[in-house]
């Protein structure tokens, strides 16, 4: 190696004169090359910065010298130092007339500047001028710069010229112009939406380089909107066929493979176009089959193309022969000694098992080898595969393995990833409550701060509501085992905050429920937690409320409460806390303790986190009061609908300011009888200072009025929801309202809110669908490494179980949702006592769940799959129409293409354009064929 280096150095030195590099530059590069440490390198670069700062602003620097300076600037930035002092000189260099200098200038500028840098404005003019140049190399240089420097605002300045260049006589220019247009599309799709047909046109370019480049933007377009491009399937297939048959110039060959990079991109495009489209897919079978046969499986590039074939086959409508070929490729990959091929094998296995689940069977040992391989990359890929093939029969093994791995790594990014996968699998396939709790404990313990807070809320809800059927014994057993495991774990140092919150809540709610642990034991533990987390207010709040619940249960059970000394000091400390939330909790705790059993029982009923909170929406208990007021001369309430005459229509158009209307109305018609108006007045004007818990339903009405004003958009659609918003604001407890306090899921009580309900239901449907769909893969096998293999790949009889368990889960979720929507009280689960006393705020983790209407939408057969089959013809016919435009624009180009052929005989892409070359003619003819046949088809359809 050292030898190589010296040879290289001599070579470079030898070229010293030839390339006109100065001694100074050579010395700089040499010293950087010889630097033995980063520190030494930094020293050299810092010195270089000083030198350059002085030199570069000297007057009359020869151009050659300047170019060298610019490259030295590039070095400075590349090695991690700021060279902004010299940017302006790079910009100036783009103005130079010498091509090499100009291009160096552009290169430096693209390396230095982001597309929103201030200096860009100085280059726009130069670029515009260069795009008009007669020298195509100058145009190319400018187009390179366009791709790097043009942002949304400057696109219009370039667009017309770039579009003109699409028809330039030099293929290199056309290629770069296409890519510039692609860049514009990436930056601002709307700016070029009217020009998208150009991409279709350039697909028929007679230069394979231009055609190949055009595949990039087309791939992006098709990814976003597959249906508009179905008409191109035939063209793509025909191009791919010709590429595979070596109709492209030899210079595109790579290791005896004809234009493999173009083949790969075409296969990617076909995979998109054929996905779920039987008719389109049928067009592809032959060519993909051919490529399977032709690929040289002994070279890397051959395998790269084969891999892309497998990806394509597992994406398009299945074909048995191709699936077989794909399976063969995969098994060759997996049996290979090369880790790279094994990696590709595992990846493609993960893709193919969606189509043919049984293929994993033959490879179980290979998979396990990969799982146990010391190579981290391979291991992760294998976990990804396992994730895809998890079902209820192997979930324990897989999740255990994942957790072990999760514990062993330090990379937070991946840890988060794998933790959320564990949670997802555990929630979906858990074989038993006990296992579920233990698994969640492990995940929380080791990655608690990385998982979504939703997960914690889910867990609490699950413990509160129990797993399944109305089996109280099982539920309380679940709770006991949770309590037990938490008490076991609680002493561990440095538990994540989210986990501690769960622990506190569960201990508060169920710590003393089964009588196994005494109140003082549990409260002691809770105090320990609160003390240990002196910086975490959320955990402290959970702990205090848990304490309050424990004491309340004790009082309600008629036992005498002896507050531990440490509790007392904790409460005292908190009642002087800076956090008003903590203060309030402390005061509430003190207040509750002084009450008698009956009162306490009403405030905090035991095990009532899932109970309904009765809300008297009609406020019937106020009837007598209203009666009395009317007798005293108050005006009767007129429902909003009957009030139209008296109201400003502007206000009414959005039903939102209902509340303010109330306000107006009351003021306007008020008689000097004090009680009614004054009360509403204070409530509506000073909601935020009102600290008394709204313990009776009289308040909702008031708070509603207040809340309507801020939440304009939702107002009117749901009274209940608004009221909740108001309450939440008043109590200001962000910790419990989590990141997404969307109101929509809490609104189901309100019949007016039909739209939201449907939305929510819809999301459940799609969720359920996804569950059934993505969990479909099933695998089965038997041998040893084998116990693992057996446990991982299990028996086939399990498949049924999987789908039922999934759908069971969903129904369950749905029933939760139903429970929630009709039973606001249950939402309190994640909230706590204070909230219970007021009005519930549904926990945010419920937002994904919707309406009772859903159970019927969780079939074990995937209806969407069935639909796809039915829909195909319709999809195609709809795209045929779309294609008409493309075909129309294409045909003139094809003629042009023929016209041009003789003339362009001298171009570098002779193989395609030379008429003397049979292959070339075939290539274009094939394209023509393809486009003509599509055009024909369109005519028919029109």
């Amino acid at each position: 190696m050292e030898q190589l280096k010296t040879i290289g150095r001599e070579l470079a030195m030898g070229s010293q004169g030839g390339f006109g590099q100065s001694k100074e530059f050579l010395d700089l590069v040499k010293s950087i090359g010889e630097a033995r440490s980063k520190a030494e390198e930094d020293r050299i670069v810092l010195h270089e910065i000083e030198t350059l700062k002085r030199r570069i602003s000297e007057p009359d620097i020869p151009k050659r010298k300047m170019k060298e300076y610019i490259i030295r600037l590039v070095y400075i930035e590349m090695l991690g130092h700021d060279a902004s002092f010299g940017y302006i000189h790079a910009v100036k260099m783009t103005h130079d007339d010498t091509l090499l200098l100009k291009r160096t200038g552009y290169l430096a500028v693209t390396l230095f500047l982001n597309d929103d840098h201030d200096l860009i404005i100085l280059i726009v003019n130069t670029i515009q001028k260069d795009l008009r140049s007669d020298n195509y190399l100058v145009v190319c240089a400018a187009l390179n710069a366009v791709c790097r420097l043009i942002n949304e605002e400057t696109i219009p300045a370039m667009l017309p010229q770039v579009v003109d260049l699409l028809a330039h006589s030099k293929e290199a220019v056309r290629k770069k112009a296409i890519m510039a247009l692609h860049r514009f599309y990436q930056k601002s799709p709307s700016s070029v939406s009217h020009l998208v047909s150009n991409f279709r046109k350039r697909l028929c370019d007679n230069d394979p380089g231009v055609m190949g480049a055009t595949l990039c933007p087309l791939f992006d377009l098709i990814t976003i909107e597959v249906h508009s491009y179905k008409d191109l399937v035939v063209s793509f297939v025909s191009i791919l066929k010709q590429v595979a048959e070596r109709r492209l110039p030899k210079s595109y060959d790579y290791h005896q493979m004809p234009a493999p990079f173009i083949q790969i991109r075409l296969l990617k495009i076909l995979a998109l176009l054929g996905s779920g489209d039987k008719q389109a897919s049928e067009n592809m079978y032959t060519v993909v089959g051919d490529i399977f046969r032709k690929c040289d499986s002994s070279s890397n590039i051959g395998n790269a193309v084969l891999y892309e074939c497998v990806c394509c086959v597992s994406s398009i409508y299945p074909n048995p022969k191709l699936l077989e070929a794909a399976a063969d490729v995969i098994s060759r990959f997996l049996k290979s000694d090369s880790h790279n091929l094994k990696y590709m094998g595992i990846d493609s296995l993960g893709r193919l098992i969606k189509m043919s689940p049984e293929i994993a069977e033959q490879h179980q040992l290979a998979v396990i080898d990969c799982l146990e391989d010391p190579d981290d990359t391979l291991k992760r890929k294998t976990f990804e595969l396992l994730y895809k093939m998890t079902k209820s029969s192997n979930v324990e093994v897989i999740v255990d393995r994942m957790i072990d791995y999760m514990i062993s790594i330090n990379d937070n990014h991946y840890k988060t990833d794998i933790a959320s996968r564990c949670v997802e699998l555990a929630e979906q396939f858990a074989p038993s409550n006990h296992w579920f709790i233990l698994t969640m404990n492990k995940v929380f313990e080791h990655a608690g701060d990385l998982v979504n807070v939703k997960v914690a809320h889910n867990l609490m809800r699950l413990i509160a509501e129990g797993f399944g059927e109305d089996d109280d014994a099982a539920d309380s057993q679940l709770r006991s085992s949770a309590v037990e495991s938490y008490l076991h774990i609680i002493g561990e140092p440095k538990l994540p905050s989210v986990f501690l919150q769960v622990i506190c809540w569960v201990l508060g709610e169920y710590g003393t429920a089964d009588g196994k642990y005494s109140a003082s034991y549990i409260t002691g533990k809770l105090c320990d937690v609160a003390e240990a987390c002196s910086n975490d207010e959320t955990v402290k709040a959970y702990a205090v409320t848990a304490l309050m619940k424990i004491y309340a249960f004790e009082i309600a059970a008629g036992r005498k409460v002896d507050m531990l000394h440490e509790c007392q000091s904790l409460v005292e400390e908190l009642s002087a806390s800076h956090s008003t939330d903590l203060q309030q909790r402390a005061y509430e705790l003190q207040a509750v303790i002084c009450l008698d059993a009956h009162a306490v029982e009403n405030i905090i009923p035991s095990d009532a986190s899932c109970e309904d909170v009765e809300i008297d929406k009609n406020l019937s208990f106020l009837n007598s009061y209203v009666q009395q007021s009317m007798e005293n001369g108050a005006q009767p309430y007129i429902p909003e609908t009957q009030r139209s005459g008296m109201l400003d229509t502007n206000f009414r158009s959005q039903d939102q300011p209902e509340a303010s209307l109330h306000g107006l109305r009351f003021e306007a018609y008020e008689l000097p009888k004090p009680p009614v108006p004054s009360r509403i007045h204070t409530a509506s004007l000073e909601p935020s200072t009102e600290l008394v818990p709204a313990s009776e339903p009289a308040y909702p009405k008031d708070t509603h009025q207040v809340a309507t004003v801020p939440s304009v958009s939702d107002a009117g659609s749901s009274e209940l929801k608004l009221r909740l918003d108001g309450v939440q604001r008043k109590w200001g407890r962000p910790a419990y309202s989590s990141s997404a306090p969307s109101p929509s899921s809490s609104t189901s009580q309100n019949t007016v809110n039909g739209v939201t309900q449907i939305d929510a239901a819809g999301s459940v449907i799609s969720k359920a669908h996804k569950t059934n769909d993505s969990r479909k893969p099933r695998v089965e096998i038997s041998p040893e490494k084998q116990k693992l293999a057996a446990s991982l790949f299990g028996g086939s009889s399990q498949t049924e179980k999987r789908s039922t368990s999934a759908s069971h889960k969903v129904t369950k979720a749905v029933s939760h949702a139903a429970g929630k929507s009709q039973a606001p009280k249950s939402a309190v689960v994640s909230n706590q006592v204070t909230v219970e006393k007021t009005i519930h705020q549904p926990p945010p983790d419920l937002l994904d769940l919707g309406e009772p209407a859903v159970p019927s939408t969780t079939p074990s057969v995937d209806p969407f799959k069935q639909l796809e089959g039915l829909l195909d013809p319709t999809q195609v016919s709809s795209t045929a129409n779309h294609g008409a435009v493309g075909a129309a624009t294409e045909s003139p180009d094809i003629i042009a293409l023929y016209g041009k052929t003789p003339a362009s005989g001298h171009s570098s892409s002779a193989a395609i354009s030379l008429p003397t070359n049979g292959d070339g003619v075939n290539f274009t003819a094939g394209l023509l064929d393809a486009t003509l046949s599509t055009a024909h088809a369109e005519q028919l359809s029109v």
Partner: protein, 142 residues
């Protein structure tokens, strides 16, 4: 978008060429390069030439003292990128004649010009060596 960045780094971890197809600040680049170089250099010959890092996948290949690292999106064909690296090296070989680290250092701009021909907007747009090199040769002659 495909390719996010291309790096050439020697076995001491010193950057020899860096081209990013999305904007990162100097600090971000420095941190990123440090992390992935550390990761890749620690791997042995038997292990995969692919490494996951944050949202990237790094495909790397070693030639004598020089590592070529390409950061790609998650759905990119890793083997193809591996061969793309080799194509780049073959192209540089054809131009420099058995390319070595110092060739790239002394002719940094040319190495960049080649990349500019091969990759635009993070996509591989040209794979014919003659097409890649012809503008550079024309410039040399001019």
């Amino acid at each position: 978008m495909g390719i996010r960045f291309i790096l050439m780094v020697n076995k001491q971890g010193q950057t020899r060429l860096a081209q990013y197809y999305e904007y990162l600040t100097l600090e971000e680049r420095r941190a990123l390069e440090g992390e992935i170089v550390r990761k890749c250099l620690a791997r042995n010959e038997q292990q995969c030439s692919f490494v996951e890092h944050r949202n990237y996948k790094i495909v790397y290949r070693r030639y004598a003292s020089l590592f070529f690292l390409v950061g790609v999106d998650n759905d990119e064909n890793e083997l193809a990128i591996l061969e793309f690296i080799h194509l780049l090296v073959e192209t540089m070989d054809r131009h420099f004649g058995n390319v070595c680290e110092l060739d790239i250092m002394f002719h940094l701009e040319k190495a960049h010009f080649m990349l500019e021909e091969m990759v635009m907007n993070g996509c591989i747009v040209e794979t014919s060596k003659s097409n890649i090199l012809s503008p550079i040769q024309l410039m040399d002659r001019a």
